[in-house]
Symmetry: none
């Protein structure tokens, strides 16, 4: 892909695609990653490629629940690391929680590459910020290499997790989760906070709080909202899904 | 991907994804193929992953126009060959027309592989049917290797086609076409029949008849409808697009 002019109305979307294509070549992604991304692109197109007020409320709720958690964790996969790794690290630094690399199609090579990518992002962020922030960024532990935990209710490689991370967490922020794993985590009594562009997906409908938004925008917004120290509310997740569907529904009248 | 249980509610969608992933590994697809497929998946999700009555009417109209054509052609690219090659061959056998492999990112290797894939599908279908059908299936010519034609109004590799195929056709069935080429074909006075899951795309809005449906379902349905020998009607393509958008819009009530 050549250079995308600043004036291009869909520049962010095209840049995200270029980043993923490059990461795919470097072996960071599963084969299905591009399909998942394309699905996201279509939903984001229908959502107008911006964070809705409704999504902003969901992001604030997630920020509040992560701050109030005993053992919060941010779970990252290939696509989210490539698209929003830096935002996730900055959010985790404010929350004061680790990040766990946890991928559906688990191979040692991909795990290693994703952990290395996040460690290198930490260094880059640390080089740009003040001393206090730098310390909190460098303190964000990247878990996942030790597969010493298990998600009860799942079988095979998908059940693997870190004991110190997802296994012992009470609140899990997990962008782009698959439906089975989301259900299993909820069944274990954890609060599952997801970012999913498809408001009809099983993940979106099963989660405790669903942010219907593009992951880099959502986690960028979360950084800001975490600093406002919000409080958890009595959350109606169905309402946020209905609001997202209304936006999609309205966009279909654009013809 | 492991074996998908028969009971899985989205088995067809997951199988399609597995097929494409495999074809990607074998070099049949362009790099952007997976993203395009993911975008389609999202729209199909909103359409309820089934052929609507409105889409069925469009499929019947396309069947009628292909049967009434002087020089009909079915144009196939990488994704459509992988997802619906067999359905296209069976439809072409009933119509009595050739299939042309015509791809946006043209390389000799991909052209060769796609033509070989279709030839091998012909053999497989022929082994399963009666003698008369077998003869009509084996008679379906797979064009594309000879790039001796041109689509006027386009430049570069995208303008290449077969003289005996798209260049001389009056009716072109072209699933998953790009907007520019669809416009150029329409400008040449050809009837352009497309299969596109996004009713808002330029292709969907430019085509003579737009089938808003998943390509394997649409071409499978077409086989059946061709046998009913339908007649072309005075077609309102805006109506079929509006109906698809209404279904997408109504999907917001599914929750």
């Amino acid at each position: 892909m050549g250079k995308i002019p600043d004036s291009h109305p869909r520049k962010a979307s095209l840049l995200a695609r270029a980043k993923l294509t490059q990461a795919g070549r470097e072996g960071l992604l599963a084969e299905s990653a591009m399909i998942a991304h394309g699905r996201g692109e279509a939903f984001d197109y229908l959502l107008g490629e911006k964070t809705s007020d409704s999504a902003k409320t969901a992001i604030k709720e997630c920020a509040a629940r992560l701050l109030a958690a005993k053992n919060p964790i941010v779970s990252m996969n290939g696509n989210t690391t490539v698209l929003a790794g830096k935002q996730a690290i900055r959010a985790a630094a404010i929350i004061g929680c680790p990040i766990e690399v946890n991928i559906y199609y688990r191979t040692p090579e991909r795990m290693e590459k994703l952990i290395a990518a996040l460690e290198s992002m930490k260094e880059k962020i640390a080089a740009e910020v003040d001393e206090e922030t730098k310390a909190s960024v460098m303190a964000v532990e990247i878990l996942g290499a030790n597969a010493d935990g298990k998600i009860d209710g799942l079988e095979g490689p998908r059940s693997i997790c870190s004991r110190k991370g997802i296994e012992s967490a009470d609140v899990v922020l997990v962008p782009l989760e698959d439906g089975d794993r989301c259900e299993a985590l909820v069944a274990l009594g954890k609060q599952v906070l997801v970012v999913d562009l498809n408001p009809l997906s099983r993940t979106a409908r099963t989660a405790t709080v669903t942010i219907v938004d593009e992951v880099a925008r959502a986690l960028g917004e979360m950084e800001e909202l975490l600093l406002q120290n919000p409080q958890p509310t009595d959350w109606d997740n169905q309402k946020t899904l209905r609001e997202a569907l209304e936006i999609i529904s309205d966009s279909s009248k654009r013809i």
